[in-house]
Symmetry: C2
Subunit: 537 residues, 2 copies
């Protein structure tokens, strides 16, 4: 067979030949912009020629610091198109982390939205490798600045609209780079090869995964700085799918309006977005029946959200699981055909899990005694392998903690049922190891949160002489229940669902639970607080 | 990213873990057999362990000479599963060609249906490399024979149901081999790598091509000795699709009955099969509404057939184009979403063409003045490139005629319209080069056959002093019109549709047109007959 390499530029070249009339809709501060693929691809070629002209070489990193819009999409293809590496920087990191990853990646050029110019003015002195900033501005002129800047629009006009993408790419060459924020220490980089992006896009187009198609209108709400917006921008261009890019500071109102106006058929975002979206469309009527499916990942969606999409709006809710290290899609929660005849509650339970492996990815789940039984009960750490799964962190010694014997150790604790459907039950580090058995902190938290009095619940492990570790629950009560509901009552409530040895040794009531900037529980901090509390007490 | 190889055994391993309950339905002389994937995969592992035990080594060829049934499917995975090469032999070749390809491939073992035993008894002396025949019999005992035979069922029972497939395969290693019958000379072999089969299967699963899914019930009517039954058996197992294998000497009645009984959703075959199928379901009522689509390739289907499927039965008719050298799928005729609003006749015209490229394959069309315009008029030879396109014929000097500068020269003359949709208009060798312009013999033939008096029409080129070549039409009239319709009348009929210089210089009436054993016109023989006719005349 021919030695044809699987590369990102070949994907755009297909769109150029077959789907020139199709459209990209991009929301900016000036309103909606519409470009045909023909226009978009000419601009992409212009951008790639200008990046070469200012000296970006094959293998070098070009950073982006931007929301979801067409200029960012142009960078998605222009950077790999010259053989350079698209480094999408998470705009939500704190400035120290941003400095760290730009220096660690040695970004030579950064493309950024104008709103982030002040941030870069404040950190530029700490970025010795950055030679130029290309400002993806919606205005005709840039504000005064001391930084070495170019105005994206004016600048790319000097480029060649028929500039050739690099032709001798090897599919193993790097095309993308994304850093995942570690809970401890600095962010860790994951490099995506052309091959990985290409194969991952194929997986997105499979009828049995997202089934992304030319006939779709796809809206990635998930930011383009999060694992390539789950690969959707790449795949959409390849398949000739109409793309809707919702721009900066995207609200539920914007999302609902765009779905209505552009007849979006497939949209992708984290659970919180979908929760807020449901509230928005309850409040005001929008025509959202164009949506054939939504893709939801990042964390587990509450069953109530899935129920509402499926039951009230007849919109297919596709739970997916993945991580920065896996490009990201690993599993999609689709029913098997022999489950079509099961009742709604059964199907809802299937869809509330994370799904089974898409073609291409392999897994192994290791519990306390080796590979676990697929019984939906036994717990183990999920190990992954596949052509779009990373094998290392970019220039990072922490590689050896996570990548072992050819497998990625995800740090996620899962159960697997008879159908091979996985359910995330905890993170390795949050799991409570009690007397040789494992207790899922997440299961206990979910049970507590279902009690009418509970506003927030966080379960942590504390050391125990005899049992090694025991669970302690920290609970924030709703105001109306404060001082009324006792820990005994909550323990009795839990006892209805769990074996006795699962029940927390204590339930501590608190005013708030410490959280990260993105709202995740800071379990490590909480653990210290709790231990202090017991030492004092 | 991980160095994970794209291999055939990994596809079956996925089915084993996720789709053990799904079913393979196989028609044999004893009636319908049903196996779960669990059973099928155990048997496949048994077969692979026995093939190893009798000494089949990695890279060696194992021939199959069989219809579409579950044992053949087991061989599809067991042979690549030990790193050997599955050589599917076309049972319709004449015995000399069969001897040639078995010797050329150096098949070490051949798995064959019992009905072909007499054939192999007659040629065995000419096959010095074949050490054993495994008879895939439906009977308990084999007939007496002098050949070194094993009874498939009894034999595999000695194998290990948990035998491991080879684990260190490189995706570039050969997995399959299929010979294409050349119109002149000996058949030419095409070797399929694991990577090519894997990627081709992914393409079959894309929502925008065949969209093969777990929810489908797929029936490859196309023989498993024709380009791996277009890849469907491989893909179906990978995706967990229920498979229906229609067995030997499959009639229209069998096809219609199986579709009805097994609720087939996707079936694949050449146009003649679909033409006969339509006649069958006109004659007798069958419930065929489970069919969501049919896949049709091998040659162009008449528009009337497409019309009937789409209009009368609301079954999606998917024309596909490919060849042995391309695994085979290269294009699928699907509407683009902006064509959904066009009227039925417009859509029918799109679907009557061969479609546009599936993701992964590239093309170039070379006419008389380099690359042709995409105007639906200019003609050129179709050149292909892609990860599942061959780069050579197996140990064959004729490689250099067909594979040049990294492209496969298909020998097919096509037009390409503004949408990138290709239409096959001729074979290179049948094209008529007249005065520096090209005339499509196929277009003239199709026009003639549309005349009520014409039963068959074949247009060939004859040498011409001034114009280099000129077309001559050979026509067989329907009995009722013999002696009634004149060549002038047919020429006038053609003049309504074609420019004057396209019209044949002569129309010769004949009693029959010489054909190959599979019913294709023998244009070379006809050309000699015609030249003799003019020399005598």
């Amino acid at each position: 067979m021919m030695n044809v390499q699987l590369t990102v530029p070949s994907m755009m070249e297909r769109a150029e030949k077959l789907f020139g009339k199709k459209e990209v809709v991009s929301k900016s501060s000036k309103g909606i912009q519409r470009l045909t693929y023909n226009q978009l691809i000419k601009r992409t070629r212009q951008l790639s020629s200008m990046l070469e002209r200012i000296g970006v070489k094959r293998g070098e990193r070009v950073g982006t610091f931007a929301w979801n819009h067409h200029k960012h999409l142009e960078a998605y293809f222009a950077v790999p198109g010259i053989g350079a590496v698209l480094h999408t920087i998470n705009i939500r990191l704190d400035s120290e982390q941003i400095v760290y990853i730009i220096n660690h990646a040695r970004d030579k050029v950064i493309l950024l939205d104008e709103c982030f110019l002040p941030l870069f003015e404040s950190i530029h002195q700490k970025l010795p490798h950055v030679e130029a900033y290309i400002i993806m501005s919606d205005e005709d002129k840039l504000p005064e600045t001391d930084l070495p800047v170019y105005h994206y629009e004016n600048w790319i006009q000097q480029g060649h609209a028929s500039h050739s993408f690099v032709q001798d790419l090897n599919e193993e060459e790097p095309a993308g780079l994304c850093y995942t924020s570690a809970t401890t220490g600095e962010p860790k980089g994951v490099v995506y090869s052309h091959r990985a992006i290409y194969l991952h896009c194929m997986a997105l187009g499979l009828a049995d995964s997202a089934g992304l198609s030319e006939a779709d209108t796809a809206m990635p709400i998930v930011p383009m700085f999060h694992v390539n917006a789950w690969g959707i921008p790449f795949a959409a261009v390849w398949f000739g799918t109409k793309l809707v890019l919702p721009g900066a500071f995207c609200t539920s109102e914007t999302i609902a309006s765009l779905i209505e106006q552009e007849k979006v058929t497939l949209a992708a975002a984290v659970p919180t977005v979908w929760l807020n979206f449901l509230q928005e469309i309850e409040k005001r009527p929008y025509a959202v029946d164009s949506l054939r499916a939504i893709l939801c990942g990042g964390s587990a969606a509450p069953k109530s959200v899935i129920r509402e999409f499926q039951e009230k709006y007849q919109i297919e809710f596709m739970h997916a699981y993945g991580m920065t290290e896996t490009s990201p899609v690993v599993t999609v929660s689709r029913l098997k055909s022999y489950q079509y005849s099961e009742d709604f509650e059964y199907q809802l339970n299937v869809k509330a899990k994370q799904g089974f492996l898409v073609p291409g990815v392999e897994m192994k789940v290791i519990g306390q005694n080796g590979e676990i039984a697929w019984d939906g009960v036994e717990m183990g750490e999920l190990l992954l392998k596949g052509p779009w799964v990373a094998s290392e962190y970019y220039k990072d010694k922490r590689t050896e903690d996570t990548f072992k014997d050819g497998w990625l150790y995800t740090g996620d604790i899962v159960t697997v049922d008879e159908e091979g459907t996985i359910k995330i039950v905890d993170r390795t580090k949050d799991l409570i190891k009690s007397g040789g058995e494992w207790i899922s902190s997440v299961d206990l938290e979910n049970a507590l949160i279902a009690h009418e009095a509970v506003f927030e619940a966080c379960v942590i492990a504390v050391p125990h002489k005899m049992w090694q570790e025991r669970p302690i629950a920290c609970v924030v009560l709703k105001d109306a229940y404060k001082g009324i509901v006792s820990s005994e009552e909550l323990l009795e409530f839990l006892a209805l669902q769990f074996a006795k040895w699962w029940l927390p040794d204590d339930i501590l009531f608190m005013d708030e639970i410490p959280k990260t900037t993105v709202g995740k529980f800071l379990k490590r901090t909480l653990r210290e607080q709790v231990l202090n509390h017991y030492q004092k007490g």
